[in-house]
């Protein structure tokens, strides 16, 4: 492969990964609602969430590997492990490294969640809400595409999708009445 092709693969897989990640986050937020989006069966939303996440990780791997082997791309293994250490746009590129590490943490804890227990797993899973904006910012801020209109457009669509999911989640009419009441009528001991 020529360096040009590698450059396109690197950029393209990054964008695809970002879009998939957005789908994952939006589904994850929406899945906690009393009603599923588009009245999909709940298991379909659940499987879509998982499969999109796994695919996003595959594309993320492609993104990183192609940039590592591209002789013209200014990153090293070192940069891909330690965030904010790069000489080329250290902040924006560091966000990418940080996002990848957050995703790795989420992936690993999810694989071992039955051992880990619901509480620990959920705590780490919440990092997704940090990971996704980090990835979004990394996409906009790094590389040479930050002045092209289409990357901005994609970023905006991603933002809109997650905002819509949040709206779906919090609108009260999607929580059927007489579900769990949040009261714990218990005084704590000590």
């Amino acid at each position: 492969m020529t360096s040009d092709a590698l450059w396109f693969v690197g950029r393209g897989s990054g964008v695809i990964s970002l879009v998939l990640l957005t789908v994952v986050v939006a589904l994850g937020i929406g899945a906690r609602s009393g009603r599923t989006p588009f009245d999909l069966p709940r298991f379909a939303v659940n499987l879509l969430h998982r499969n999109a996440a796994l695919t996003a990780i595959v594309f993320l791997a492609a993104h990183i590997i192609s940039l590592l082997i591209d002789p013209l791309a200014p990153i090293t293994i070192f940069d891909a492990i330690f965030p904010f250490s790069s000489t080329y746009r250290p902040f924006w590129q560091g966000l990418g490294t940080l996002g990848m590490e957050l995703m790795a943490a989420i992936l690993l804890t999810t694989l071992f969640r039955h051992r880990l227990g619901a509480r620990g797993w959920r705590a780490v899973h919440w990092l997704a809400y940090l990971c996704w904006p980090v990835a979004l910012a990394h996409g906009l801020g790094t590389g040479s595409d930050n002045n092209t209109w289409w990357l901005w457009a994609i970023t905006m669509i991603c933002l809109a999708a997650v905002a819509a999911a949040v709206f779906w989640r919090v609108s009260p009419r999607f929580d059927p009445p007489r579900r769990r009441v949040a009261v714990r009528p218990f005084e704590e001991v000590r």
Binding site: R180, R184, F186
Partner: protein
């Protein structure tokens, strides 16, 4: 004989005495005596001890005096009257299962006498930690007690998940059970069996209340006739329509003086002696109203964790209260039955099951009242 005569636990307060027994001897004694738990479930103590000892790991032992049942007084009474007997029993159990941590879990007021008793025993190298129990109904449930003594909320947990976590093995025993064990260690298993019945040996503490002249804690052998129990509390204060045995998690039985108070004797009414709460209902009160009031209380005591219990109990309570107050709608009795089936077996603790069982016993016991209520009448005088 199965009479109220010669109290054991309620005799003269005793001093501390823990005979030198090895773990196996304690377990064998409990087995030979046929001692069962006095907290309500009535599980054989020997089997429970053996199971914990068999893990070979140091255990956590909890003396449970939480007594969430509003009608029950006996654990508090025992802790005040005979704290040393409870502590003796706790030490014996601790020895039987190599306990590394001992707790006494009871309402704050009941901990005071225990604190004094522990001061008397300060020379012994045994440390018992005192844990205050909240005054909620499910606080006395075993897994709630286990959570509370280590500083968590006093709410039940899923048994299977708790076991899988491989925490320290935990043994929760009612304080009355421990006191009986201490007596068995002093007087032997044979002596213990001289009271009660062949299958249900020993005495139990009953909190006799409701429409009786002198509500009080009474000690009697299992199988004691209901009339004798009521007589020990001064007898009925008037004509009775029924008696609630086993407390709010128990069942209604007829006010028949001959009825033996034992598992075997009460089984046909779907009741058990439970934790010994015996409440007489005067003929002037409506059994349905009383049950509706109890179920409303129980629905309010749901710990808010399990969906079917959280949603089902308030629904049963409102249907029952409609029936009790003559707000009749079509199919209300079959709806009550359906809801009972819906909640049974579907909670982490047996709160929904026991509530459904109580309602079932009320519907049977007061079936004439039900018919009358459906017609807009009432049979209470």
């Amino acid at each position: 004989m199965t009479t109220v005569a010669e109290p054991r636990l309620l005799g003269e307060p005793v001093e501390a005495y823990v005979p030198k027994l090895d773990p196996k001897q304690v377990i064998d004694l409990a087995r030979q005596a046929g001692l069962t738990g006095r907290g309500g479930a009535g599980f054989p103590v020997g089997r429970k001890l053996a199971a914990v000892a068999a893990t070979g790991r140091p255990a956590m032992v909890i003396a449970n005096g939480a007594e969430g049942e509003p009608g029950s007084e006996k654990d508090r009474y025992l802790l005040t009257h005979q704290p040393h007997l409870v502590l003796d029993g706790l030490q014996l159990v601790a020895r039987a299962c190599h306990a590394s941590a001992l707790f006494l879990y009871a309402p704050p007021a009941a901990l005071e006498p225990v604190r004094r008793a522990l001061w008397d025993r300060r020379r012994e190298a045994v440390s018992v930690r005192l844990a205050p129990a909240p005054s909620t109904f499910v606080a006395g449930e075993a897994s709630a007690a286990a959570a509370a003594v280590v500083g968590g909320g006093a709410i039940p947990a899923d048994k299977m998940v708790r076991l899988a976590k491989r925490e320290m093995p935990t043994l929760v025993q009612n304080v009355e059970t421990l006191a009986h064990l201490a007596l068995v260690a002093r007087h032997g298993a044979e002596w213990f069996r001289t009271r009660g019945t062949q299958d249900e040996p020993g005495t139990f503490l009953a909190t006799v209340g409701g429409a009786v002249v002198n509500p009080q804690v009474v000690e009697a052998g299992y199988g004691v006739p209901l009339g004798e129990l009521l007589a020990a509390a001064g007898g009925p204060s008037g004509p009775l329509s029924a008696v609630l045995v086993g407390g709010y998690h128990g069942g209604w039985v007829p006010a028949d003086p001959e009825l033996p108070v034992s598992r075997a004797g009460l089984d046909s009414y779907g009741a058990t002696p439970g934790a010994g709460v015996v409440t007489a209902l005067p003929a002037s009160s409506c059994g349905l109203r009383e049950t509706a009031r109890i179920v409303e209380y129980l629905a309010g005591q749901v710990s808010g964790q399990c969906g079917p219990c959280l949603n089902g109990l308030p629904r049963m309570a409102s249907a029952l209260s409609d029936l009790a107050h003559h707000r009749i709608w079509l199919g209300m009795t079959s709806e009550v039955d359906r809801l009972r089936g819906l909640v049974t077996g579907r909670g982490a603790c047996h709160h929904p099951d026991a509530t459904a069982r109580l309602i079932g016993s009320a519907m049977r016991m007061f079936h004439e009242d039900v018919t009358a209520h459906l017609k807009g009448e009432c049979v209470a005088r």
